[in-house]
């Protein structure tokens, strides 16, 4: 008699449920990770970096004051401005004149340049020139009318200084060498700041650093925090171009190959019926406990117990071989064995009834001597 066995829809669903769930979870996790890491920036003055040279603390402060900080490392984000928003350009990077011009043409209403180079100044803050570099870190008074600086008060200053053209506001300097310069270019505010160190995580809490940073950066709701990179990222160096380098035929061959792989996978992957499961009985070595006890003896260095077991075992053999009664007292046993083997009774007493050995080597030699003694008894 036979009955056909097949899977109903419900059974198939139950069998597939777990793999589907796991796959879904992995895909979801991958998407989440992609989204979470896509806005990530790293390195010096990065709004996501918690190192001492990062600026996560400042970004968090800004978020607390309802400023949306959008960190980016892509030039594309820096040239696509919305009106009424702020662009912060971090120190470093290797943008060329063209890049800077494109940033200047974007519709930013407020641009903050952190330790800019001369190219950046030329394009975004005409008239401002680097004048020097104050290597020493020191606190300075604002010494200007800029409300942001006046409210912040003393600030820790370190880094390049700039000269300002007519009509610009200069702060934290002597009028010629200034750390903060604000000027209006068209209807856009441009701040030049020479001291990135003051706004990094390590020193944001000093003096009025945090207040100055908030006042300068918090002018608008949206803040794009752009960190220029060391390679210029033109669109033509993007991933698309590498796809264009591959001849189109290869793509079709790849698809045909993928299909062939799928067919072969189905051919090889199909089993001739399911694996048969079986309930097996538990099997343990009978000597397992004895071996376990031996390891316990060694771990706890139970030389006394080991020695007494060996001695008792040897005595048992002696009793048997010499016909000594079980309950005979030690001196009688020693006397009998000494008489039979011709050994020194004192040594024999020490061997059979002595103190437990103090070292492992002593235990080893004790076991050997007991072996010799019982051997002698068996083959006199």
């Amino acid at each position: 008699m036979s009955t056909s066995v097949g899977r109903s829809v419900g059974e198939s669903w139950r069998a597939l449920r777990t793999p589907l769930l796991i796959t879904g979870f992995v895909v979801l996790a991958a998407i989440v990770v992609l989204i979470a890491t896509s806005a990530r920036t790293s390195g010096q003055f990065s709004p996501d970096s918690t190192e001492s040279t990062g600026a996560r603390a400042l970004a968090a402060l800004l978020e607390d004051h309802n400023v949306d900080v959008h960190g980016t490392e892509s030039l594309n984000d820096a040239v696509q401005a919305g009106g009424g928003s702020t662009l912060l350009i971090g120190p470093g990077g290797s943008l060329d004149d063209g890049d800077w011009r494109r940033i200047a043409q974007a519709q930013w209403s407020h641009i903050i340049l952190i330790r800019p180079g001369s190219r950046a100044l030329e394009a975004l803050a005409p008239g401002v020139r680097p004048t020097g570099n104050s290597l020493a870190t020191r606190s300075r008074q604002p010494g200007c009318e800029l409300p942001a600086a006046v409210k912040a008060g003393t600030v820790t200053v370190n880094g390049p200084t700039y000269s300002a053209p007519e009509g610009a506001t200069t702060c934290y300097g002597d009028g010629i060498n200034n750390t903060v310069v604000r000027l209006e270019v068209g209807d856009r505010l441009v701040d030049v700041i020479g001291t990135p160190g003051s706004f990094m995580n390590a020193r944001l809490a000093d003096d009025g650093n945090a207040a100055l940073a908030l006042n300068l950066l918090g002018t608008h709701q949206d803040l794009t925090w752009y960190l220029p990179q060391w390679e210029s990222d033109y669109p033509d160096s993007d991933g698309e171009s590498s796809a264009q380098l591959i001849p189109p035929d290869v793509r079709y061959i790849a698809w045909a190959l993928a299909f062939a792989v799928l067919v072969v996978a189905i051919w090889r992957g199909r089993r001739l019926g399911p694996v048969v499961a079986e309930r097996l009985p538990v099997i343990v070595h009978a000597a397992e406990t004895t071996e376990g006890r031996a390891r316990l003896y060694r771990r706890s260095r139970a030389r006394d117990r080991a020695a007494s077991a060996l001695r008792e075992s040897a005595l048992g053999q002696l009793h048997e071989a010499h016909g000594i009664p079980r309950r005979a007292d030690p001196s009688a046993v020693v006397a009998t064995v000494a008489a039979r083997t011709g050994r020194d009774p004192a040594m024999l007493y020490e061997l059979l009834y002595g103190l437990p050995p103090l070292t492992d080597a002593a235990l080893m030699s004790l076991s050997q001597e007991l072996d010799v003694l019982t051997q002698e008894v068996r083959h006199p």
């Binding site: 009955t3 019926g273 070595h285 000597a287 003896y297």
Partner: protein, 430 residues
């Protein structure tokens, strides 16, 4: 649905086709469509595995280690079925054959034989019969499974039966069926016979001699129709592996030899396998039925990881025994277990019956005790010595209480138990 290597080759040829002839989406589409159509046609033309009808015949039981054959009868009421057939059994059923090739024209019937050598005692149930039917083109096919019930029982191997002839010979000597020159072994009066020089003069029946005028000898024979109850402990003490099998299997072997011997000696043998519950129970089967019924009852007994309840053992044994009998307990000599749970309850048994406790000794302990090499060996030797001393002490305690103890390694336990039985019989203690 199944695909074959030909489908894979067709798809691979498709790659070449796309590369050389039609490097376009259309080319990819042509290849995919061609493979799908060919496979679909083949699947539709393949005979249906579901419509096949199955039945089985063949061996129901086999001694462990021997080969069994189970036949599968397949009837095909539908289209021709060509392909593979797998008769799936659990791994320990020990299927020898690879999947069978099957070519079954419409309306015909075939017999396929599956050979099995079980690797473990107990019942093995056939799992499924899976048929893969490949279409006439050989590119794809269908697959389906059937449940075709069959149970193959792997019986205890009874390896110790090689010891049976020699023990039977000794039994015959005891019985007086061979010429006896010694005084009868046993206390039951058998018959009178003429004196032969060499006979023990103490056996001469003087009264009969006076009556007959020639010297007549009394012969004695051992008691017959005694009860023997073999109790196998299937608890955790029997789970430990000694050599290549659990203690339980060695115990079964010894029990079977004893049962065969005792049956020939004219005794009535019963069997009880017990841990926290009774697992097997055979009560006084007819003499010719002893071995088959024992072997069947023991086939599915496995060692359970529970403490054996000896109160059950004692009450079960007392319940089925009236007259003075022999109770053979096959268990392990574990001081903690025996002292705590057997000794307190064994009193009633000892008062009325002869109790024999047999245990399989572990040769590994002897090895451990003799090992001398590094420090762990010495500690191992000490530990093994401690175990043996504990066992010796337990044996002494049991012997003092009146229990006969047989403690032998796996190779010797069965003959040793048989010898002890013969010795008890010879001494007239039964």
């Amino acid at each position: 649905m199944v695909l074959t290597g030909r489908a894979g080759i067709l798809a691979a040829a498709g790659v070449v086709f796309v590369a050389l002839v039609m490097p376009s989406w259309a080319g990819v589409g042509v290849v995919v469509a061609a493979v799908l159509v060919v496979c679909l046609v083949d699947i539709l033309l393949a005979g249906s595995p579901r419509r096949l009808q199955f039945s089985r015949e063949g061996d129901n039981a086999v001694r462990l280690g021997e080969q069994a054959a189970v036949n599968l009868l397949i009837t095909n009421p539908g289209r021709r079925v060509r392909g593979l057939l797998r008769d799936a059994w659990p791994p320990s059923a020990g299927v020898l054959d690879p999947p069978h090739k099957l070519d079954l024209p419409s309306g015909e019937r075939r017999r396929l034989t599956t050979h099995l050598v079980p690797t473990r005692r107990g019942d093995r149930h056939a799992f499924r019969v899976t048929v893969r039917s490949i279409g006439p083109l050989g590119f794809a096919g269908r697959q389906g499974s059937h449940q075709v019930a069959w149970t193959l029982r792997a019986l205890p191997p009874f390896k110790s039966r090689k010891h049976l002839p020699s023990r039977l010979a000794r039994l015959r000597e005891l019985d007086g069926r061979t010429a006896l020159l010694v005084r009868g072994q046993g206390t039951e009066f058998d018959s009178l016979r003429d004196y032969v020089p060499g006979d023990d003069v103490r056996s001469i029946d003087w009264r009969a001699t006076a009556r007959r005028g020639n010297v007549v000898l009394r012969t004695w024979r051992p008691e017959r129709d005694r009860q023997v109850v073999i109790v196998i402990d299937s608890g955790r003490l029997s789970a430990g592996r000694v050599g290549d099998a659990p203690r339980l299997d060695h115990a079964m072997d010894a029990a079977l030899l004893l049962a065969a011997l005792a049956t020939r000696a004219g005794d009535r043998v019963s069997l009880l396998a017990c841990d926290s519950a009774v697992r097997a129970d055979v009560r006084r089967p007819a003499p010719e039925d002893v071995l088959p019924s024992f072997v069947n009852a023991l086939a599915n007994v496995e060692a359970e990881l529970v403490q054996t309840d000896f109160r059950i053992v004692v009450s079960q044994v007392l319940e089925r025994l009236g007259q003075r009998s022999l109770v053979v307990l096959l268990t392990g000599l574990d001081p903690a277990v025996i002292e705590e749970s057997l000794l307190p309850v064994i009193g009633p048994l000892l008062r009325r019956h002869v109790v024999l406790l047999a245990s399989v000794a572990d040769p590994r302990l002897t090895e451990l005790e003799a090992a001398r090499g590094d420090l762990l060996d010495v500690y191992g030797a000490a530990s093994a010595a401690r175990t043996r001393l504990d066992r010796d002490r337990l044996t002494a305690t049991l012997t003092r209480a009146g229990v006969t103890v047989v403690d032998e390694p796996p190779d010797h336990i069965a003959p040793a138990l048989a010898d002890t039985y013969l010795a008890l019989k010879k001494a007239g203690r039964l």
